[in-house]
């Protein structure tokens, strides 16, 4: 993808772009406006009067209801999973009946959680290791075939998932990795490579060369320079790459669907999706809700914890062509 998005300044600095072009009156961004000397239309003056508040009400209602639309499905599911509902394991009173159904479904939720955790953590570890070394090589070394390899790695993005999974199903069988969680993790790692290699390459390129050159002059090997000097500097990139790899691997549905047959080796999304048709085609909605909560909770917690970081990693360079 040769698309180039110019980012002229670091993302952390609040840009003056923001200043006066708000859609609504700009009471609360009065502090970020550029220079007070700037001539501005009178109506743009920060207003704290009652009239200003009244004028803002439609805006509050509009944006507030947008937020509600986005949050409602999640909140509703969380409540519904503990609410009583006929046809589920939680028929009267509130409680965790649906989660008990989930816990005892076939191999048990712990088995599926362990499978998912194994696949996700293996994918994260492999992705971090490979893209750290690969990004270092692409950013700091000249070797024959460098550009071709980089382009081929990015080309993974262009190939449909399904196109790859059909031959991978055959290939993994030949490698004795059929029906194996390790095979799924390897495949997921491969699909992570375009983003993670790209991200790590620009992370390394953003570090001044003087830093590692000084270390090399001081007698460090390139390995020691990477480990001692550069690693701390690319940590933000690594966190973004790791978070992406985890979220993708934890949530991936299609790779395990195609590559795993043994129901004891199902990952969580696959198990929850199969759980729907547990009892003779009757759908246990309660257990499905509980399953969605178990699936979504780690992602949302992780996302909220690292949100600042994730957004920043994105904005700082992911789209610098």
């Amino acid at each position: 993808m040769s698309t180039h998005v110019p980012i002229s300044a670091g993302p952390h600095t609040p840009r003056a772009t923001d200043s006066g072009r708000s859609d609504g009156p700009s009471a609360e961004d009065g502090t970020t406006t550029a220079t007070p000397a700037q001539p501005r239309p009178a109506r743009r003056h920060p207003t704290t009067s009652i009239g200003g508040l009244v004028l803002r009400t439609p805006y509050w209602i509009f944006t507030g209801s947008l937020a509600v639309i986005f949050l409602f499905p999640l909140v509703w599911t969380a409540f519904a999973s503990v609410a009583p509902h006929p046809g589920t394991n939680q028929t009267d009173g509130w409680g965790f009946g649906n989660y008990r159904t989930l816990a005892h479904y076939q191999a048990g939720i712990w088995q599926y959680l362990a499978n998912s955790a194994f696949v996700s953590l293996t994918t994260v570890a492999l992705t971090l290791a490979i893209s750290l070394l690969g990004g270092y090589a692409f950013a700091r070394f000249n070797f024959p075939g460098k550009n071709v390899l980089f382009l081929v790695t990015l080309a993974i993005l262009m190939v449909p998932y399904a196109t790859m999974l059909i031959p991978l199903y055959v290939l993994l069988t030949q490698l004795n990795l059929q029906d194996s969680l390790l095979g799924v993790a390897l495949v997921l790692t491969m699909f992570q490579l375009p983003f993670s290699t790209f991200m790590m390459r620009i992370s390394f390129e953003a570090i001044p060369r003087e830093l590692d050159e000084a270390a090399l002059v001081d007698g460090c090997s390139s390995w020691a320079a990477l480990w001692r000097v550069l690693l701390p500097a690319v940590k933000p990139g690594l966190i973004t790459v790791g978070l992406f790899a985890f979220l993708t691997a934890w949530n991936d549905f299609m790779a395990p669907l195609i590559l795993i047959n043994d129901s004891d080796k199902f990952t969580l999304p696959l198990a929850v999706s199969n759980l729907r048709v547990q009892v003779q085609g009757v759908i246990d909605y309660g257990a499905t809700e509980a399953g969605v909560v178990v699936l979504a909770l780690p992602c949302i917690v992780l996302f909220l914890l690292l949100q600042r970081h994730y957004v920043r990693g994105f904005m700082s360079g992911a789209f610098k062509g």
Binding site: D23, A206, D252, I258, V292, L295, F319
Partner: protein, 309 residues
């Protein structure tokens, strides 16, 4: 990690350190050493399967017995003769057009809405983004319950009206599109925000001093300067939508009346459900790959601006 500072410094240091030839060979060796894990993954899990899928598409290759020798071009004629082929292509294109238009417009709209930094807008941003943390499969399962005429929050209303979300082909399509918008709008908003940040504030100031209206500013400044971002997001969105699978596999299961079968779903069905013919599935995979490459090339060309250097 400021990008603007980086480029100058990078150029300067590269000029200074021109390595001598033996060092360069050492460099190349080390470079290959560090990049070898990447190269191995790409070779074994990307290049080999890519060649394999072409070979499979030219061979008789049942799921259980494996390679039975070349039978080209039988698999390709079987794909075109498949009774769902045309319908799935038309449906996939329809879905792609709808999803892309909605996601790009909403992504841009939301980005403009939350662009400035304030506490309230930070909250809005976070709430638009939270669905993006969910997997597509989890989101589909969530909406499967939400749309359900038995357990969903609108169950009673649906019973009274005698209508269900997923009951009619149009309803199923629109319901799935809503799910996709819910899941991805925040993500596209984030990409748009990145693009909006790249537009210098001075241009807006100048336009405002010249008395441009808000609409004029948007039409004449924001949109043209956002073109690279719009190109990137459109290509991503089109690619993602053309390859839609989970949402339909989980939410509609291709129904009602096989009206919501996408191309990827057809590949899966050919390979693992019923026919169990990996050869035919591989043929359709190859067709999908070629179509995707062509579509993306056309898009890149359409977005390419001859005025730019």
């Amino acid at each position: 990690m400021s990008v603007s500072m980086m480029s100058g410094r990078d150029r300067r240091s590269r000029r200074r350190s021109r390595p001598a030839s033996p060092t360069r060979r050492g460099q190349a060796l080390k470079g290959w050493l560090y990049v070898s894990p990447t190269a191995m993954f790409v070779a074994v899990l990307f290049i080999v399967p890519l060649l394999l899928v072409v070979r499979m598409s030219l061979s008789r290759w049942p799921l259980l017995t494996g390679d039975q020798g070349v039978n080209a071009p039988d698999n390709y004629t079987k794909v075109f003769d498949n009774r769902f082929f045309t319908d799935s292509v038309i449906f996939t294109l329809k879905y792609t057009a709808l999803a892309t238009v909605l996601l790009i417009t909403l992504g841009l709209g939301l980005a403009l809405l939350v662009q400035e930094s304030s506490r309230w807008k930070g909250l809005l941003r976070a709430s638009f983004l939270i669905p993006s943390a969910l997997g597509l499969a989890s989101a589909s399962l969530l909406f499967y319950v939400l749309y359900s005429p038995i357990a969903g929050p609108a169950a009673e209303l649906m019973n009274d009206l005698g209508w269900t979300f997923l009951g009619s082909p149009t309803g199923a399509l629109l319901s799935t599109v809503f799910l996709i918008v819910w899941r991805f709008a925040g993500f596209y908003m984030l990409l748009m925000l990145v693009g909006l940040q790249g537009i210098p504030a001075e241009i807006y100031e100048a336009a405002r001093i010249d008395g441009a209206s808000r609409w004029q500013i948007f039409r004449r400044i924001t949109l043209p300067l956002l073109k690279p971002t719009l190109a990137l997001t459109t290509i991503m969105c089109v690619t993602g939508s053309l390859l839609a699978f989970e949402q339909f596999y989980i939410l509609t299961k291709g129904g009602p009346d096989n009206s919501t079968i996408t191309v990827v779903q057809l590949i899966y069905t050919m390979a693992f459900q019923g026919q169990n013919d990996l050869g035919v599935a591989a043929a359709l995979s190859v067709i999908a790959l070629i179509a995707l490459v062509v579509i993306n090339a056309v898009q890149l060309r359409a977005f390419h601006n001859p005025d730019e250097k």
